[in-house]
């Protein structure tokens, strides 16, 4: 029924559908990261490229304050997102790329919920400290953001593949 690439002890077959969904998510996240990293380079190139840079910056302005003081700089220009967002998106990319080797496709007992609570807690503490100007550091912001991105990406992928797994199990049983 499904084009089997390999089969684990769970009895669930890794199908093309798994690979396709995973590929689309990974490629989309990679493009997302490339877009905000490319922004300073596009400005540097000048001309029509600058308009693309403005487009990217405008796009990311919907989800990020883009404060230059709180952003990493490349080629003398700030990135299209702040340090925290940079960490979150890179964390998500790492989480997605390493998902098959860390949590795994068919892990039914992943402790991801505990991890999600821990990373959200970490980010809230850092967010509170930096909002109150008690402690402010670009690397720390990016670092806590990285853990949040890792947590969210892992949770989302886990939810997607668990959903597919339940459906496959049900189909196989009927």
């Amino acid at each position: 029924m499904y084009n089997t690439l390999f089969k684990r002890s769970t009895g669930i077959q890794f199908s093309r559908r798994f690979a396709m969904i995973y590929g689309v998510i990974a490629a989309g996240t990679l493009l997302w990261c490339i877009a905000f990293i490319a922004s300073p380079r596009l400005i540097e190139m000048g001309g029509i490229h600058s308009l693309f840079a403005i487009g990217f910056r405008y796009f990311y302005s919907f989800i990020c304050h883009q404060n230059p003081d709180r952003s990493f700089h490349v080629l003398g220009h700030s990135m299209a997102v702040c340090a925290r967002c940079t960490g979150i998106y890179f964390g998500a990319l790492i989480g997605i790329l390493t998902f098959p080797f860390t949590i795994g496709w068919f892990n039914e007992h992943s402790p991801w919920k505990k991890w999600l609570v821990i990373v959200i807690g970490l980010n809230l503490i850092e967010f509170t400290l930096s909002s109150l100007n008690l402690f402010s550091n670009l690397i720390l912001r990016a670092g806590t953001g990285l853990t949040l991105g890792l947590g969210i990406a892992s949770c989302a992928l886990f939810a997607i593949f668990t959903h597919i797994q339940i459906r496959l199990k049900w189909r196989d049983s009927t």
């Binding site: 308009l51 910056r57 883009q66 668990t162 049900w170």
Partner: protein, 169 residues
């Protein structure tokens, strides 16, 4: 097979919540924290649907993703309309403000771009290009983040129902 409630109502409520919180001044800064309002809109839609679901009905992460997606899309549409209303009432020109902020960030843009800036200055209120881009970007961003919120919430809530096989194949 147990009848499932409509997804439209919770999605509309979630979308309305996204639109209101993302459009109101000051409150909309919440979206700078990992698109908080958009994610929470998806969470709200899934929670409302889950509450209305009969105990014997199935509930999957797929339902959550779909609810989140719908809430995000409604949120983008309502948010754009509400944004236009706010621009009219408060006499704002967000297109110009955002572009100014980009320029103030220290980046140098080509001279041709100045004509676009003047265009934004002359158009009081809403510039059609700005409105079009805003709607498109909102649709993309909301659909991604709200789906994510719906998906994760559904995974958290479905544990009680996970042993029941899906029935709507």
């Amino acid at each position: 097979m147990t009848e499932k409630p409509s997804k439209l109502k919770p999605a509309l409520i979630g979308g309305a919540a996204i639109a209101v919180f993302s459009s109101l001044p000051i409150l909309n800064f919440g979206n700078c924290f990992c698109c908080m309002w958009v994610i929470l809109g998806g969470v709200l839609a899934v929670y409302l649907y889950w509450k209305a679901l009969p105990p014997s009905a199935e509930f999957t992460a797929g339902d959550g993703a779909l609810l989140g997606l719908l809430a995000g899309l409604f949120g983008a549409l309502f948010g754009s309309l509400l944004g236009l209303l706010m621009i009219g009432i408060l006499d704002l020109n967000p297109g110009r403000d955002i572009l100014n902020a980009i320029m103030e960030a220290g980046d140098e843009f080509p001279d041709e771009f100045e004509s676009y800036m003047d265009d934004f200055d002359e158009s009081s209120g809403v510039h059609p290009i700005f409105a079009m881009f805003s709607l498109t970007f909102s649709l993309i961003i909301n659909s991604i983040f709200s789906t994510l919120g719906g998906l994760i919430t559904a995974s958290l809530l479905q544990k009680k129902r996970v042993n029941q096989p899906p029935m709507n194949e």
